[in-house]
Symmetry: C2
Subunit: 172 residues, 2 copies
DNA sequence: TTGATTGCAAAGCATTTGCATGCTA
DNA sequence: TAGCATGCAAATGCTTTGCAATCAA
């Protein structure tokens, strides 16, 4: 699951190609933002990424991070996801198995999973309706194993630092 | 699919019960908003519903519609959905088969579908991960049958008045 | 040199909140 | 009568845009 240190040569190549094809320009900011995004194996908001970038170059603005994340998404390197806390998260997309998410509404933990059976059934269903699917999103909310154990207290497991905070389960 | 004229006695009962249990109060606005929501068999934004309510009572404010939609959701009568245009839609939930959505990115049409097979696989998958699911959301984006035919022009089928406008496929 | 890019501030947009007034229970 | 509900306006929070200065090609 956790990737070893690597240089993301292929990803950078893809990004540059996308930039060139669109008649855009390569800049230090875009390189830096992409670099940090690629080496952070996590679900990040634009804000999260902004602060990480700040550490390396405090002159980079919030806007540029937003814009670059859009670019990365267009290039197929990033994917947008929402977990119900009204924020847009970005995750790696290229070279990553497609997967779906289970979100714990107690502690906010996000579990990635993949089921070929579900994928196939979706395609079958689409086919039946004459629909030509391009992408999809499946999210399952509920209570994770750990939180089921500590159900009595209705609090997150000790030590847990949830990425996603489920406030009122809106902004699905 | 399309419901015949009915009085929604059961739904109103549920709403009142929810209101009483929560120590809230029944008001003319809440009654009106619920009434119009129930008789509109469609995916509505708060804004949409606001304008429908306006026709009957121009004194009702936007805020109250928002707040009442939240109430209806809490009561289990409505469900929030997002189709990728950055808006929150509400659909009937009570007495309606659970279903998922296919969204056409060309014309914005929303197709509801249900697959027991997919549902079962999801439960199985959750079970395997020790996850206790409470609800889920599956959305498939792609091109609908009609738009595949008129693919050459890359425009929505004539006469179609899409509810959802897909601009840049964000706000998933 | 040209035109894309950046970062700031300001604008957008959907949604939420503060508060004085109005109304249920 | 108590205190929840309402509607307005203002405030949010996230995201986008306008624009002058900057920088890649």
């Amino acid at each position: 699951m956790v990737k070893k240190k690597e240089d993301f040569t292929k990803e950078k190549e893809i990004f540059l190609e996308h930039i060139q094809k669109a008649g855009l320009r390569r800049t230090a900011q875009r390189d830096l933002i992409m670099e940090i995004f690629l080496k952070t194996e996590d679900h990040l908001t634009s804000e999260d990424l902004y602060w990480l970038v700040q550490k390396h170059d405090p002159s980079v603005g919030h806007t540029t991070v937003y814009r670059t994340l859009k670019l990365l998404t267009e290039a197929g390197l990033a994917r947008e996801v929402r977990f119900g806390d009204n924020k847009t998260y970005y995750e790696h997309h290229y070279n990553h198995e497609h997967h779906d998410h289970m979100i714990c509404t107690e502690c906010g933990k996000v579990i990635e999973f993949f089921s070929q059976a579900i994928e196939s059934m979706q395609d079958e269903m689409a086919d039946k309706l004459g629909f030509h699917p391009t992408h999809h999103s499946l999210r399952i909310w509920g209570v994770c194993e750990e939180c089921q154990k500590s159900e009595v207290t209705h609090s997150a497991p000790s030590g847990a630092q949830p990425k996603v905070r489920m406030r009122s389960m809106t902004g699905i």
